[in-house]
Amino acid sequence: MFGKLTWAAIPWDQPIPLFAGAFVVVAALAVLLWIGVKGYFPYLWNEWITSVDHKRIGVMYVLLGLVMLLRGFVDAVMMRTQQAVAYQAPGYLPPHHYDQIFSAHGTIMIFFAAMPIVIGLMNFVVPLQLGARDVAFPTLNSTGFWLTASGALLVNISLVVGEFAQTGWLPYPPLSELPYSPGVGVDYYLWALLISGVGTLMTGINFVTTILKIRAPGMSYMRMSMFCWTALASNMLIVAAFPILTATLIMIVLDRYLGFHFFTNDGGGNMAMFVNLIWAWGHPEVYILVLPAFGVFSEVISTFSGKPLFGYRSMVIATLGICIISFVVWLHHFFTMGAGGDVNAVFGIATSIIAVVTGVKIYNWLFTMYGGRIRYNTPMLWSLGFLVTFVVGGMTGVLLAVPPADFALHNSLFVIAHFHNVIIGGVLFAAFAGVTFWFPKAFGFRLHEGWGVAVFWFTTIGFYVTFFPLYVAGLLGMTRRLQHFDVAAWRPWVLIASAGVAISALGMICQIVQLVVSIRRRAELLDPTGDPWNGRSLEWATASPPPVFNFAFLPQVNDQEPYWAIKQRAIETQHLAAVGEYLPIEMPRNSATGFLTSFFATLTGFGLIWHIWWMVIAGLVAAYAGFVWFAWRDEDEYEIPASEVQRLDGERRRAREEWLAREGNLGGVA
């Protein structure tokens, strides 16, 4: 009846996961109870769960990412503390548990923290910057989000029901094959990623179509904001790379479930093929994350310097350059597999070419700051922290791309330090910068500045104190993923790194405090104009939070920085642009398809993991039924009456009139 699932799957004898799991379950039930008592379920269902509004979906993505970031961070704390106490000692986490933690940490951080935050920011911002009413496929967008959430849910279920993979965040065979990983851990990994991978692919297709096909009138390619360009590049990479991941994971699934021999030791399997395939996806994945991060910094640095982005064309070329080159460097992840001098050298050199185009970007940001009037709000602090941190991470990356240096450092803590250097210094800093930057747009009030600064300093210092010692430990030959070690020379560095994690934890706490304080004091942090930072692109041309239709009139774009131009013109003429006649607007209706399909996908995944075949079939049939139900719908859209459009737009215009009066008195911003 329940396949391999028995009561023994729950780790009664392991207090840490049991209590962690019990805590999460109790907390989730408490939240549900509170929602129920307060009567918020209809609101939640109508305004969020079934919403196909790209802004709502974006917010949910970011929220999912932040919650998972916290989960991944707890894993990180456990890993660092384990290594701190495991010098010539077993520590407090046995290998079975420790190996799950580092596997879950990597999987969660990449797939369920970084990806959702980056995709969330794109979701929220891109249509607004394009001057569009929504994305190309709103219901698909909702489905993509819920499938990602479904994957995240499966990974977290593994905490209490069964186990997670003990193979690292990329399950290299034959370790991940049945003879060496007979448990359900790898299966949790596979199905969680296959399901969320479909969601990510949907996002990719949706955003490529959105950016290429539904921009505001006059928004030619070379007038798109830098963030839209990087989003386009990132989503093209998703479309081209994620199917490789799907194919590769399906091959392991076939090996594990049906006795195929893709990567097995017997039957002529070839595990080196897995390593090639997974990195053919894995390296572009790095740029899927970091390109939008570059986009965020481009927006932030230009806005807070009060200048257009320097070298826009170079930036576009560099972005597309990275997009293409990222596909021809995958072999640098395994120089030590003995490919020979020619192959290693070619891939090493290809990798360092990425440093050229990235270097171009760094210089262009520098020259954007040059001659600016830099306001140091939190997003700008993150950007400056990024510039300093990222060049170091880039340097160690190029170092690892030199094969002989890699022979000394591959799989050492130096590599760990390097990629945390670029992912924390690049993607995470961008996530925090972006969230702070666009938070007022999403909710109508800014985040508290003082707590934001505290988050910045704790997180940045925490990062340096954690990972610079790991560079040294790597140079001392300390390899990654050690559950315990005996070498005295490594110990001091490991201990310093643990102290660094404590500092980062303070940053995490400040993050939560910042959110609470900002919500409580939202009245004084209010942004009535919709343009709290004196922005330059179109998302600031509408109210905060934007109405569901984004713009009362589709903006006509004549310039690379459309909103800046509108503001300049308003100041010159001392008048806001005249309004035309307000007309009713058609918007897509809510749909429960995404939520239902993903619910059944979760059931299917769970059934597959535990070999509960009736559940698999029931889940698939139900998902199909949900799909047909959606396809049968007659009305896809609803109409917002002209009077409502006028009312919503009128509020913003009144605030802008006040702004203009102030600017007029000051004699203009320029």
């Binding site: 079975h96 190996d99 290299y172 034959p174 370790l175 003879p179 060496y180 007979p182 030791n265 017997d266 399997g269 595990m271 080196a272 200048k307 070298g311 826009y312 170079s314 030590t336 597999m337 003995g338 020979g340 001098g341 020619d342 290693n344 050298a345 090493g348 360092s352 070419i353 440093a355 270097g359 171009v360 210089y363 262009n364 520098l366 954007t368 700051m369 040059y370 001659g371 600016g372 830099i374 306001r375 510039l387 300093v388 190029v398 170092l399 791309a401 094969p403 002989p404 000394a408 450092l409 591959h410 799989n411 140079l475 001392l476 030959g477 390899t479 990654r480 050690l482 070498v487 020379a489």
Partner: protein
Amino acid sequence: MARFRFPRPALFAGSGKRSSVLLGLSPLLGGVLDPQGPAASGNAQILLNAVAIMMAIVAPTIVATMVFGWWFRASNKRATYLPNWDYSGRLELIVWGIPLLVVLFLSGVTWIGSHDLDPARPIASPTRPIEVRVVSLDWKWLFIYPEEGVASVNEIALPAGRPAHFSLTSGTVMNGFFVPQLGGMIATMNGMVTQLNLQADRPGDYYGQSTQFSGGGFSDMHFLLRALPPTSFAQWVEDARKSTKILDEDAYLAMAREKAAAPRALYGSIDKALFENIAARRLLVETPETE
């Protein structure tokens, strides 16, 4: 005779003069920046060269970031404000040119280094290399000396100053063979044979380990590499030959199927075809009914 320091790395290995030279770097001794052989020296040299080349561009960039960020702060009324300055052809040239030149230079280093320090490339030496076959298992290392007819677990002895040629494979899952102070990390994979050439210039005990996570006992998968003076090496081989343990297919399969770390051990005689059979997947460790 080398001092026994296992499991600590060979701190301050080598002559006293060398140690004093490196004293400034003492926190880094014992690792890849304290090379004890030509492969590791080459790796470390390239590592340091590449850092130096890149620092020439990275350090000024960091300084410029801080200077620009400080000088152009909004409150500094002396800084010029160029609100529309967003393009300069000359600067663009520099922006593309400098990283391109640096990377071009670095590419040369990469190309030459990748060939000179390819692990499969024999080390130039008047003496013939000693042959060692390496098999990674769950979770231990098996070293076979085909010419000496002996084998060992978790301990390799090499004559110092003479190159060694390793052929490596894995009986089970993927691992990485690495002795930080001797350089040249290489993967071990089932059904494939990788090649590695190393040399320890001076006698000493060197810490070695697997660098590719391979399962529950991975953390214990380290070994001792003992570089011995020629006479001591001959003695080591003699000691090994005295061992009554025989490494044949049955002994191998029993060892390989026991998923556990193992103490150091010596084998007095070996099945000469064992390594080839393992590499050709004729001796599968996992049985079909393993689940």
